[in-house]
Amino acid sequence: MADKLRTMQNLEAMQARYVGTGHADTTKYDWTSNIVRDSYASYIGHPPMLSYMAVGMGESKEKVRAQMIEKMVRGAGNPPETQE
């Protein structure tokens, strides 16, 4: 029992610390939102990738960077209607 509790506590600590750590009740929306946000964070965090995309889009790096963070706000779009 103690083991299970510790695992639970560890998992909770991980979830608090690292956004996107999944749990048993992760919804598809949560999951895709996390993927979207993780991806954009990775694109802007790797300088070659950001400038590769900027050249492809014909925009300045700074503009593409701001657009990508803006897309992180949106995540995977509107959440689904919750059923009561």
Binding site: V19, G45, M49, S51, M53, G56
Partner: protein, 1209 residues
Amino acid sequence: MATTSHMFMYSLTIQPPTAITQAILGQFAGTKEQQIVTASGSKLTIHRPDPTQGKITPLYTQDVFGIIRTLAAFRLAGSSKDYIIIGSDSGRITIIEYVPSQNRFSRIHLETFGKSGVRRVVPGQYLVADPKGRACMIASVEKNKLVYVLNRNSQAELTISSPLEAHKPQTLVFAMVALDVGYENPVFAALEMEYGESDQDPTGQAYEEAEKSLVYYELDLGLNHVVRKWADPVDRTASMLFQVPGGADGPSGVLVCGEDNITYRHSNQDAFRVPIPRRSGPTENPERKRTISAGVMHKMRGAFFFLLQSDDGDLFKVTIDMVEDDNGQLTGEVRRLRIKYFDTVPLASHLLILKSGFLYVASESGNHQFYQFEKLGDDDEETEFTSDSFSADPSLPYEPVYFNLRGAENLNLVDSINSLNPLIDSKVINMFEDDAPQIFAVCGTGAHSSFRTLKHGLEVSEIVESELPSVPSAVWTTKLTRTDEFDAYIILSFANGTLVLSIGETVEEVTDTGFLSTAPTLAVQQLGEDSLIQIHPRGIRHILVDRRVNEWPAPQHRSIVAAATNERQVAVALSSGEIVYFEMDVDGTLAEYDERRQMSGTVTALSLGEVPEGRVRSSFLAVGCDDSTVRILSLDPDSTLENKSVQALTSAPSSLNIMSMADSSSGGTTLYLHIGLYSGVYLRTVLDEVTGELSDTRTRFLGVKPVKLFRVSVKGQTAVLALSSRPWLGYSDIQTKGFMLTPLDYTGLEWGWNFSSEQCIEGMVGIQGQNLRIFSIERLDNNMLQESIPLTYTPRRFLKHPEQPLFYVIESDNNTLAPGTKQRLVEDAQSRDGDVSVPPPEDFGHPRGTGHWASCVQVVDPVVTKSVISSIDFEENEAAVSIAAVPFTSQDDETFLVVGTAKDMTVSPPSSSGGYIHIYRFQEDGRELEFIHKTKVEEPPLALLSFQGRLAAGIGPILRIYDLGMKQLLRKCQAPVVPRMIVDLQTQGSRIVVSDVRESVTYVVYKYQENVLIPFVDDSVPRWTTTTTMVDYETTAGGDKFGNIWLVRCPKKTSDESDEDGSGAHLLHERGYLHGTANRLELMMHVYSQDIPTSLQRSQLVAGGRDILVWTGFQGTVGMLVPFISREDVDFFQSLEMQLAAQDAPLAGRDHLIYRSYYAPAKGVIDGDLCERYFLLPNDMKMMIAGELDRSVREIERKISDMRTRVAY
């Protein structure tokens, strides 16, 4: 297990990336002088701007083996030296300093705060330091912010606190800046947006109403914690912040830059807003809003201003007016914001203003620029816009403001630093008929695009070229006395005489010098204090200062065939094979040694070293004989002319030179014997200063002519000029001190000599045919010469004409007006208001228009005219995406140029309204293109390939084979071969290697009888392929968008089966495995290079070198992969890598192996960049590693440098 992999490659960077991702300014050496520290890829470089010459020179570069994401400079109060903080992907904060005395970076602190890698919530994306150097904040895009307090202890050493957290979940940070608050508690400002609510609201209303806020985080130094002090909503489009000076210098606060506006904000001040002026002109859309993409604040005594750059590249000067009280004193309250057009420079990723009045522009694409300020735009005619006329409320609309473009008035370009970034495609081809191939690359974006030729060589500046009356055989220069600074005579030897020229204001012939003018000369030397000697076949002429001559005649029936001299010694070889040795007496006369040494064969070359400092003689004489040996003879008084050592050679030596040069192994200088052979081979061996033993021989093939060697002086160091079919220079690398041998970008010379005069202190004089040439070498730090041809739009792909030395470049620019549209707009405007001018695109860029594409195919001649010779524009919003030259069998093998285009393409999300394949006929040997026809296809053809006399095209996931018809292309065969989209095609035989945009490569076989395309093997890992090349029939090398380079191989059995006759049916009906083909490729090699590979090619880089894989990266990297031949070498380099990674851990705290295994474990690869760090280690560490590896330092260095020099530069 990786170590037993049957293939290993040595991965080495030949040219580091040139894209600058971060640039900071500071007094890093602790003096008043400012330096620039830049990050390009994993390389951290410190540069010294030279205000007197207006040049920037790199001082030191270090590979940190990690991704440098952010840099910040800070200075502790009362100190005069700036430290550097690095935010990298190591999950650690690193503080380093530059140590000028040792010219290296030294790490002071390394504190771990999170996981490694670039992650959403691990800090490292933003890094700002308090202007007073008391604290710094490092933050991630989402949630996490850490504050470190910086201080000093009683020993005046820098200390760093444990991190203070200022986390806020579900909050994204757009920008961050440290506020200038003087000596109050440090405050950090962030542009934040919360997404918690919008993630909960299914209607989407919360997202619409979400606000962006400017948030102040205050570090309470007394309580040692961070509080969220102030938050206020700002413009929803804001994405950048700039620090406004505070304390005694200004009002403090920030400038918030959003779309079309710049707003001043501070917690205790009113907001002020100015719009960003838009360009006016016939081709400009008046509705298009600008954003600020870069900027810099500059503080001068008592004043400050901002230079902010819009995404067009226009710089705007922004100033802040403050309220004055009745006495004319500033109250610290802001009155208004002013903005006006300043000048236009290339779009920058970073701008830096130096105290010495220079502007450094780290360009986003193309060359980095260094400008000098002519003036600060204080009293010009430019319209100024103030915040008085605009409301500060972001929700209120306002009239846009416009300005007119003009030529540069305030900035003057003084230096342009070559940059290949972004390098979009390249080819390694030998076009100049040199012995080694050149690299051709298409680089840049928009109007700053260029076609570049890269050639290995040193730049030579020619001073004099003059024709002589007949062909000379040799040339020397000499000074008259030992104390002379400059040379006084040039002595030319002809077949039947000698000519002496004096060097002065003009160079003219002199006759009364005492030189024998009726015989050719073998050597000339300034001897002793003030006398000269001339050695000619019949004897030695000793010319004293008063023009008296002492002659030593050669013995009867013998002549002098070779001679060696230094300022105290002379040795000559007679035709009989005897060596006669002379030494200078105390009274200045030349005394012959009483014995002569008989050599075994005819002497072909002799060399005496320089007399070492504080000694009376050089103790060695090197003698080369026609029996292909070199002997070292002793010149010590007790063992004169005795044998010391012998070296056997592959051919007779044509030239010898004993020279002491800087050496990386010992750290000081070492005596070397340079040997040139008749076969064109050059050898360099270490000559032991005590025993005369020869060791550590390194060989290099220089050319087909016999090698002649000369001692010259370049940039203060002794160098060796080696002449064969082309001239080479051997010198020590400025940073590593390793020996470099680089060809000169100059005509072939027959003879060379050092030359020094008042006008040209370190020059060289040489003979080429009947010409005398005087030249010098200005730079040793750059051994890649670049030539640049401007292109019109962003290049996408290029190819070479199958026979002619011409290239065809396809170019396209998104959101740019096509020439036709531009023309129409200009004509409209002209009919309306008469004369209108359009600003030149090379300075101001092309006019932009959302959704428009401008595209063309250009013919470039890089050899003769070095320019674009013809150009065809695409109309109707088509953009070129692929190109191929196809010899169609159905047209009697006539080669056509095929260009694929996309119509109405949007990049993100990807879509288009189809594509076309254009066919062109080569006219006038390919100098002109004639349009034949075009064929519509359903999706853009992103890859084209000439395949067995027909055209293979990748259209979406479909591979299709076309033949050429009269009106259009004829579809012959097709198959869906990959899951997503074909981006690249390669072929050998009937095999086609198809790259998918994200599913790696698939091998497809074409069955001629059945006329079917059958995919038979694919990969088990998704790879977002950018480029591939077939290394052999089974193996493909490729690169992906994440910066990996990999090599995959088809299993032998599968490969054989695919080519069996009549196996079509069998292959076709084979059952697929896990939604793919029936077989899988094997991974042979994998490495992370950080830069995105854009081209890969199997090629040679130097004459006589092996085939290697040359790759180029998007940020301008040129790298290579060299296959290992022997297992022992692999073992050696593996253990060397391990030692280096442990002893000299990467600067930013990233583990080397984990870095190279960023996305997938590194396999079958040795990191040459890490191995070459060995040269830069301090001596004791070199010795320690050498001890661990059971080898000598020299041996290790030799192995490392051989890996490079055998195949590359």
